[in-house]
């Protein structure tokens, strides 16, 4: 009750004209950096940070956090329309968002993503406001061993994304893991698979690889088919069909929970909840074969999860002063520059300030919703532009976007190379989803394993002895065994010609 009153007084500050304006600027810029492939919220907030020096601290933080959660809305748009993720968290949205757009249902994909993002964002901010401090304490129990176990569990989900052929799925997974090996070994500092190339010492950048694999390869495959003035499907409504509404809402609900929980863990990123939500939705769906061909839940779940992640990830910052991702580290810098210290006493010492920022996030999410729903129809029309005009534009935007991240031509080359690799993989019917999944999880899994082994002085079995990590690992092993058994059973069944698993 007390928190509620404070929240209401926070709205008093957040709803002044100036703060609404700054909130609007923040979320619009966030949308923009989200839409531009390559440019993400970290760069956006960092570049704007110096501009906020002369501003009131409340307005400054309201604007910067607006960029942070606004970007999650923007990233969806390019994933759905042109199969090129605007930022990392939206990579998984390509899998079903783009097929939906091809069927003329881009409006539905964007509409559902907008609504899901709003629900996920708002609920996780409620969580931040009312249960932040106690959950943050519990989340501290999650150390490197627990994180490792979670990554192993995430990796077992890859089985669900394998596609028709187990062997081809395995090839894709191993390819992704191999890519994750490139770069400096975090325990010894030795460069692996760098071949004397300076730019490879830090490994591959996830967004760059994903833009090549998904966006560019799509252009290549389409360009080879005879591009006649093919009649583009008409844009249909923003809302899912009646029979899709139930599952979509359920996906949004699960995405919210998943995103919020993973947001609490330092060292995670917004890609993980999106990947896990997608795999989970596919597992739970009555007919998993629809996934990858335009399942609305495949967009709703991940898009909700990455927005819910944002609110969750602010909890360690607000209550413990822990920046759990690079963008949040920039926000932490902004707090400190304006003379505020995030930490256990923040709510007491600067209560008015915190509640105003939290209130502004409700305002910002609402602004994003009213910006996104009507705009979804407008954006969706882009999908009706003839490909011969659209493709060169996509190519230019992608190259510019990738270049702008690190100002490096190398990155552009990497994207082009992965575009070509993606093209051949598509030709060979090798699924692309396992590559990005194992690539993201593989890196984190290796780092957390090495950290755990240092902590346990080399004793691997100690990971099983900690309650949380032991439980997670056991679930992972059980899940693997179950899916192996069902896989073998399905093989024997004459009715199913392997068409069930995508």
């Amino acid at each position: 009750m007390e928190s509620l009153l404070q929240l209401l007084s926070g709205f008093e500050t957040a709803l002044t004209w100036w703060n609404i304006l700054y909130c609007l600027i923040g979320v619009s810029l966030g949308m923009l950096v989200g839409v531009l492939p390559g440019l993400g919220p970290t760069a956006g907030t960092a570049v704007l940070l110096p501009i906020t020096f002369g501003m009131e601290p409340v307005s400054a933080i309201i604007m910067l956090s607006g960029i942070y959660y606004g970007a999650m809305y923007g990233g969806t748009i390019t994933s759905v329309l042109i199969n090129t993720p605007g930022e990392a968290a939206s990579v998984i949205t390509c899998l079903d968002g783009y097929p939906l757009a091809k069927q003329g249902r881009a409006g539905t994909a964007l509409g559902v993503a907008g609504i899901g993002s709003f629900i996920g964002g708002t609920v996780s901010i409620l969580g931040l406001a009312f249960i932040g401090p106690p959950v943050a304490k519990i989340a501290l129990n999650f150390g490197p061993p627990e994180f490792f176990a979670l990554m192993v569990l995430g990796l077992t989900l890859v089985v669900g994304l394998m596609g028709k052929s187990l062997i081809k799925g395995m090839m894709a997974s191993v390819f992704g893991l191999t890519l994750a090996m490139v770069g400096t070994d975090s325990l010894t500092g030795v460069a692996r698979f760098a071949f004397g190339q300076q730019n490879l010492v830090n490994g591959f950048d996830f967004v760059t690889v994903a833009m090549g694999l998904f966006g560019l390869s799509e252009i290549l495959t389409n360009a080879e088919s005879n591009v006649k003035a093919e009649k583009m499907p008409k844009v249909k409504g923003l809302l899912p069909r009646r029979e899709e509404r139930g599952p979509t809402l359920a996906a949004i609900g699960r995405g919210t929970g998943l995103g919020f929980l993973i947001g609490l863990l330092p060292g995670s990123n917004s890609v993980i909840p999106a990947l896990m939500s997608y795999s989970l939705e596919k597992k739970l769906a009555k007919d998993p074969s629809r996934f990858g061909k335009g399942a609305v839940e495949g967009v709703a779940g991940p898009e909700t999860a990455n927005n819910a992640y944002c609110g969750g990830a602010l909890i360690p910052l607000f209550t413990l002063g822990i920046p759990s991702s690079p963008t949040i580290a920039v926000l932490l810098g902004a707090f400190i520059m304006h003379g505020l210290t995030p930490g256990p006493t923040l709510f007491q010492t600067n209560g008015n300030f915190v509640w105003a920022v939290i209130a502004s996030m409700f305002v910002g999410n609402f602004l994003l919703l009213i910006m996104n729903l009507p705009l979804a129809g407008v954006w969706a029309k882009i999908a009706t532009i003839p490909t011969k005009l659209l493709f060169p534009i996509i190519l230019i935007i992608s190259v510019l976007g990738v270049y702008s991240v690190n100002n490096s031509l190398w990155d552009v080359g990497v994207m082009l190379a992965f575009g070509i690799i993606g093209y051949f993989l598509k030709k060979g019917n090798i699924p692309l989803a396992p590559i990005v999944l194992t690539f993201v999880l593989g890196k984190l899994m290796e780092d957390s394993l090495l950290q755990s082994l240092t902590i346990f002085h080399g004793n691997f079995w100690a990971i099983f002895l900690r309650p949380i990590s032991g439980t997670l690992l056991s679930i992972a092993i059980a899940a693997l065994i179950v899916s192996l058994i069902t896989g073998i059973k399905k093989k024997r069944s004459p009715y199913l010609d392997g068409d069930v698993e995508m």
Partner: protein
């Protein structure tokens, strides 16, 4: 509805350009006053390479300082982030840039030095590839533990226990100053610290607060706030003198542990071979900018201690660090 959205977007754009214009007016006025000098350097925008990600300590420090240096030089300075390879993506580019003074960059210890001492990277560039302008910030090493960790009352308790038993320490990566500090202690005092490498301070703080790692090795700038918040207890700082930001915390030397120092220094450099006259213009401008009281105040608010050094003073600091790293090569298996 469409019109409304469009106009809202326009408004926000206008507001932003208004914010940005504030700075450029001031720079144009100081340009006129500079026109009296002989050399017309600089007469176009300067690019400043920051070899770490936007939003990190080096980046925020650089972006805080640049407006003051811009005022002195009369041209805009664009901060460009070139992260990767522990900073060496940016540094290789800086070393190979045209030495005309329009490409300058931040160099950081110990990463700059460990990057070429570590044989596995096979780098050709080293300290001699650069001409130094000035040191900007020195972030001193600090040792801290969780506030309610009652195994250690002070630094002596910690070192005694660490001699008997393996203790884990935080580190922001192989070859980082945090890692080196622990290795130095192992070498000089016979402690058994073992570093758990992560990607950054955030993960390290949560590993300490959650009790997953025993001891935090970090920088003063990072531990001041958590100590005020009652999360951490800082046991020692690793410089011959106490830090003004933590006046109550003893140095390792005071605690009788000998001369063990550790710090991360960030300064500005240009590629070798730059014209002497123009180099002096840059040096003078940075000296004035760094010594500006307002700038120092802002940096201190962020927990960063401005440590201006130029000429031989700065060169010797880097040479000492190089000798230090070479001494530890063995322990790191290089």
């Amino acid at each position: 509805m469409k019109k409304l959205i469009l106009s809202l977007l326009l408004i926000s754009l206008v507001a932003l350009t208004a914010c940005g214009n504030g700075g450029s007016q001031e720079t144009s006025s100081s340009k006129e006053s500079k026109a009296k000098g002989k050399s017309n350097f600089p007469n176009k925008p300067i690019t400043l390479i920051v070899s770490f990600e936007a939003g990190g300590g080096t980046d925020t420090g650089a972006r805080t300082l640049m407006p003051y240096v811009e005022k002195e030089l009369g041209v805009p300075i664009t901060v460009v982030n070139k992260p990767g390879a522990g900073g060496w993506v940016g540094w290789s580019e800086l070393a190979r840039a045209k030495p005309d003074g329009y490409t300058i960059g931040y160099i950081n210890t110990p990463n700059l030095i460990t990057g070429y001492v570590n044989p596995s990277f096979k780098r050709k560039e080293n300290l001699d590839s650069f001409e130094l302008i000035a040191n900007h910030v020195t972030d001193v090493g600090a040792i801290a533990v969780r506030k309610d960790d009652d195994r250690f009352k002070d630094i002596n308790d910690l070192v005694e226990l660490a001699k008997k038993k393996q203790l884990t320490t935080t580190s922001t990566g192989v070859g980082s100053d945090d890692h080196f500090a622990a290795v130095k202690m192992n070498k000089n005092l016979g402690t058994k610290f073992e570093a758990v490498h992560t990607k950054g301070f955030g993960e390290n703080l949560s590993n300490i607060l959650g009790g997953h790692v025993d001891v935090m090795f970090a920088n003063v700038g990072e531990v001041v706030k958590p100590q005020e918040e009652g999360q951490l207890k800082v046991l020692a700082v690793m410089l011959p003198e106490r830090s003004p930001l933590l006046p109550d915390v003893p140095t390792l030397k005071e605690a009788g542990m000998g001369d063990i120092s550790s710090a991360s220094a960030r300064g500005i450099a240009v590629p070798k071979g730059m014209d002497k006259e123009n180099l002096d213009i840059l040096r003078a401008a940075f000296e004035k900018g760094i010594k500006n009281a307002k700038h120092q105040e802002k940096m201190e608010d962020m927990g960063l201690l401005v440590d201006f050094r130029k000429g031989d003073d700065y060169t010797n600091m880097l040479k000492d660090e190089e000798a230090n790293v070479n001494n530890l090569k063995e322990l790191l298996g290089w």
